[in-house]
């Protein structure tokens, strides 16, 4: 506890938000010794005594000035943080104060429960042990403890005058709340515990069952978003600077919960308050990239590909070059977008650093280039599971139109030129029998197809402006435009 509070003081003295947030970062794996030391023997009294001393009696060593309000806020936060640490250590099997969790005996000696060098009287130690034995560790408990912490941190801003430089703390707590919520849900899913069914429902609510903690978490994250977005203090002191921290966490949560409408709501709130929320380019790049990515994916899922392309491209350009995974995610949506908006295919060089994307997109791209319907269908089917998972299947499927367009274009070119009259420039043959197209589609797709269906496919090409002209059904021919029969392909 000592070390933690020392760190807290340093951060406070220098008003370093990141450093302050670091004191609340429960990364027990990277620093297991440190956290075990904080937890000690899990003795609640010694912890509060420590905190009391550090916050109230140790004023002489306090190089910082904390108001009474702030002091009580932070005091409460560290007390609950300590409890949460105990739960985390327990569930990770790193706790060795009692029979909770697995024992880890890796030689790190934990001191007797002591307060400043004086051992605790034995009755208190017994109580400690008793408390520890009562419980069985679980992620649900970690989640509950961490939720308590999150509530207190939020309250720090509403009730305890926390200043805006401390907002990274909100982020750190929110971020972990989400992680623990997902673990708690997964844990419950495994144990198949149905005890919490709401008896007042007429039916079960399977969705809510599955993601109970995460939905609860979304509410708390939304609260964080609210206290940031609704702050009316002048911009220099405003919590509005925490808005994108919160929004990005919310997006992640809502996506996991499969509820895009809620994400759209957030976007609406932001664009409504855009006048007084600082412009996004004033925020750290990492936040900008995440936000733009989600904004793009949301537009993508609404089939608004032009808008999606704009946001995703911004994210792509700003993303750190070493953030491979993020770049890959952005491309997963940007490539299908481009395919539909500008009919552009990804180059081999672009895909080179991303073997997974290479595997997914290269066969499709090759089929489109070669106007090979069969190869396209196979590529789509082979990647189906992954495409569905990434929710790009329904978009990529439309690439078949491009394959078909390329194929029909080939037929048109193969048709050659009409005989030129009076020395004028030769004109392409624009009246083409349906049978020629039918033959081409049959060869390319490897399946029998009747002329009615081919006409239907060509009607689509015309309807979608991929091909200019009309079908003369009675005569069984297609009459293509003399100028630019296939817009955008120089033919």
């Amino acid at each position: 506890m000592d070390g933690l509070i020392r760190q807290f003081r340093v951060a406070y003295a220098t008003t370093n938000g990141e450093q302050l947030a670091e004191t609340l970062n429960p990364d027990v794996h990277a620093h297991s010794a440190k956290f075990r030391a904080i937890w000690g023997r899990g003795d609640h009294r010694s912890m509060t005594a420590d905190l009391n001393f550090l916050f109230h009696q140790d004023q002489a060593r306090l190089s910082i000035r904390l108001s009474k309000e702030e002091t009580s806020g932070w005091y409460a936060i560290y007390a609950v943080y300590w409890k949460a640490i105990g739960e985390i250590l327990a569930v990770e099997g790193l706790r060795n104060d009692s029979k909770v969790g697995r024992f880890t005996d890796d030689g790190i000696s934990i001191a007797e429960p002591m307060i400043h060098g004086v051992p605790l009287p034995s009755p208190l130690r017994q109580i400690t042990r008793f408390r520890a034995n009562q419980t069985k560790s679980s992620w649900a408990k970690v989640y509950d403890a961490w939720k308590e912490l999150t509530l207190l941190v939020v309250r720090g801003y509403t009730n305890h005058d926390f200043e805006n430089w401390t907002i990274p703390c909100l982020y750190v707590t929110g971020k972990h709340l989400r992680l623990y919520a997902m673990r708690a849900d997964a844990e419950r899913g495994l144990s198949n515990d149905n005890s919490a069914i709401d008896d007042l429902q007429d039916d079960f609510d399977p969705q809510a069952e599955e993601n109970k903690c995460l939905e609860d978490c979304a509410r708390h994250l939304n609260r964080i978003f609210q206290i940031c977005a609704s702050d009316r203090a002048p911009l220099e002191e405003s919590r509005k600077w925490g808005v994108y921290y919160a929004v990005n966490l919310l997006f992640k949560t809502y996506f996991k919960l499969n509820s895009e409408p809620l994400s759209k709501n957030i976007l609406r709130v932001i664009s409504a308050g855009r006048s007084d929320i600082p412009p996004i380019d004033k925020f750290p790049k990492s936040q900008q990239v995440t936000f733009k990515y989600y904004e793009g994916v949301l537009a993508f899922l609404e089939e608004n590909y032009v808008e999606a392309e704009k946001h995703l491209e911004m994210a792509w350009l700003m993303c750190h070059k070493d953030a491979q995974r993020n770049l890959e995610l952005i491309l997963t949506y940007l490539i299908p977008c481009r395919l539909l908006t500008t009919h552009t295919l990804p180059s081999a060089r672009l895909l080179e650093p991303f073997p997974r994307l290479q595997k997914l997109f290269t066969p499709l791209a090759r089929a489109i280039k070669k106007s090979d319907l069969r190869a396209f269908d196979i590529a789509l089917r082979d990647g189906e599971d992954e495409f569905i998972k990434r929710r790009v299947y329904l978009t990529l499927e439309r690439g078949r139109d491009i394959v078909l367009r390329n194929l029909l274009r080939k037929v048109f070119i193969a048709g050659g030129f009409e005989e030129a009259k009076d020395g004028a420039a030769p004109v392409r043959r624009t009246r083409i029998p349906i049978t020629e197209f039918t033959a081409a589609v049959q060869i390319s797709s490897g399946e029998a197809i009747d002329s009615d269906e081919v006409e239907c496919l060509m009607a689509n090409m015309i309807y979608k402006n991929l091909m200019k002209g009309y079908i003369a059904h009675e005569r069984g021919t297609v009459v293509l435009s003399k100028s630019g029969a296939f817009p955008g392909t120089k033919v």
């Binding site: 609640h44 009294r45 509060t48 005594a49 009391n52 001393f53 109230h56 009696q57 009474k68 009580s72 806020g73 005091y75 409460a76 007390a79 609950v80 307060i115 605790l120 009287p121 008793f130 408390r131 309250r155 009730n159 149905n194 005890s195 069914i197 709401d198 008896d199 007042l200 429902q201 007429d202 039916d203 079960f204 399977p206 499969n258 895009e260 899922l301 089939e303 569905i388 998972k389 929710r391 299947y393 329904l394 499927e397 439309r398 078949r400 139109d401 009615d452 269906e453 239907c456 496919l457 060509m458 009607a459 689509n460 015309i462 309807y463 979608k464 009309y470 079908i471 059904h473 009675e474």
Partner: protein
């Protein structure tokens, strides 16, 4: 008696015992403070109605029947007691009832105050060990629920609530979050039919039918549906049947068959709201590995999301399928419908419409009109200058030329023309007619029943 008009309207000769019962209800000597007249009246009506429905008006011993105000009072007490763990003699706070967020938050602010300022006699600079160690115990309430602190206070709180319960403490009745029961209840009711009522409080075992009875109920409902075909009645009965299953946590093959049958009936009647509720449940039940007809219903699910144009849900529905399931004819059909529409292949789409497995045609009927409009918009742009009506009839799977003609005429009477032995559809003159109709039809995707 007190309301003779009402009684005449119902053409019901009420037994004297009931009249006496009503009289007793409103006798001044039977008043219970805290139970209002309105509450009493509505409960009274409820009691008489249920007796009437059950047909036990004459057989019930009305003299022994507790008065409405007594029932209300008893329920309130039960609600309070349920908030208290019944197993311990010393009332212990029930976690969900007393540890509400609200209470916690007030506790916290209290504790901070005590922590923030030390009591005067503790403000000495040098603290002795004993002082340091014992200090938290003297705090009114420690930050966390320590083993020793807080309990007595909560006890008082509960006791206070109970005392108030005797005097008709009103606000705890029908509180927004009723106490959670400790486990599934087991029903005791043996009547086969039961009207559906939305639950507003924890259900009582005497109102709930156990699974054995529900099996008979299902048989009865199936028979009645075949004979009477009264959807309002059937839907209501199925909803109460589902409710009884839910409150008893019954999730087995019987549950699946109840939802499947209700889903099929709802489909047949075009009640998509109810259908969707069943479908959501079925998805969860199948996922839990309970047997039923997943292939049939997974196919419906795809068609349903095509209808509601819900891309996300459609994507999820496909993600739910295994490779083997994708090859099953009904699922394969639904997937083909989807891809035909995605690619604008109306030719294939209408062929699929002519041959739908199971009851999928009811679902396809829901969106066939808008897809016809889409196809016509398409044709009008691509085919010039005209098309034989017969071609439209065949391509768009109309039953006859007359039906096709009517469909077109509903939008524009000028588009058909007689040519000797046949009628032509003047695609070149249609302009934006069908394009506009299409846009409107798709904007109006009926989302009823979407949760």
């Amino acid at each position: 008696m007190s309301t003779p008009d009402q009684q005449q309207q119902q053409k019901f000769d009420w037994p004297q015992s009931v009249r006496n019962y009503v009289q007793r209800t409103f006798q001044a000597s039977n008043e219970i403070p805290g139970v209002g007249r309105e509450e009493k009246e509505s409960r009274l009506k409820e009691i008489i109605r249920s007796e009437q429905e059950r047909g036990t008006m004459f057989s019930t011993n009305w003299d022994e029947m507790p008065l409405p105000q007594q029932l209300i009072q008893k329920e309130r007490q039960q609600a309070l007691m349920a908030a208290v763990d019944p197993t311990t003699t010393q009332p212990k706070p029930h976690s969900s009832a007393t540890n509400s967020k609200k209470r916690k938050s007030s506790d916290f602010s209290e504790s901070k105050q005590t922590n923030g300022s030390t009591v005067p006699w503790r403000s000495t600079k040098a603290l002795s060990l004993e002082d340091r160690v014992s200090k938290p115990a003297t705090d009114k309430r420690s930050l966390m629920d320590g083993p020793l602190t807080g309990k007595s206070k909560l006890q008082k709180y509960v006791e206070k609530r109970q005392r108030r319960g005797d005097g008709g403490y009103q606000s705890s009745y029908r509180s927004p979050s009723p106490p959670l029961s400790s486990g599934p209840i087991v029903g005791l009711n043996t009547t086969l039919e039961k009207r559906y009522l939305r639950l507003t409080a924890a259900p009582k075992p005497e109102d709930v039918r156990p699974e054995g009875v529900l099996h008979h109920t299902l048989d009865l409902l199936k028979k009645k549906w075949r004979k009477e075909n009264n959807y309002n009645y059937i839907c209501d009965q199925f909803k109460s049947l589902r409710q009884d299953l839910t409150v008893q946590h019954i999730r087995n093959e019987f549950t699946v068959s109840v939802y499947e049958i209700h889903a099929r009936i709802a489909l047949e009647k075009g009640d998509l709201g109810e259908y969707n509720q069943c479908q959501t449940q079925l998805r969860a039940l199948y996922r839990a590995g309970i047997k039923g007809n997943p292939i049939e219903f997974k196919a419906y699910r795809i068609l349903y999301f095509i209808h509601t144009a819900n891309r996300t849900a459609l994507n999820d529905a496909i993600a739910d399928l295994t490779t083997a399931e994708k090859e099953e004819p009904p699922v394969k059909h639904a997937l083909n419908v989807r891809s035909a529409l995605a690619l604008g292949n109306y030719h294939k789409f209408f062929q699929l419409y002519l041959d739908v497995p199971n009851m999928g045609a009811y679902l396809m009927d829901m969106f066939i009109k808008r897809e016809r409009l889409a196809a016509l918009a398409n044709m009008c742009k691509a085919f010039k200058p005209e098309l034989k009506l017969r071609y439209v009839t065949e391509e768009l799977a109309f039953e006859s030329d007359a039906e096709a003609a009517q469909f077109i005429i509903d939008y524009d009477q000028e588009l058909l023309q007689e040519r000797g032995d046949h009628i032509v559809f003047l695609t070149g003159k249609a302009g934006q007619t069908f394009e506009n109709a299409r846009a409107q039809a798709f904007r109006r995707v009926d989302l009823k029943g979407q949760i």
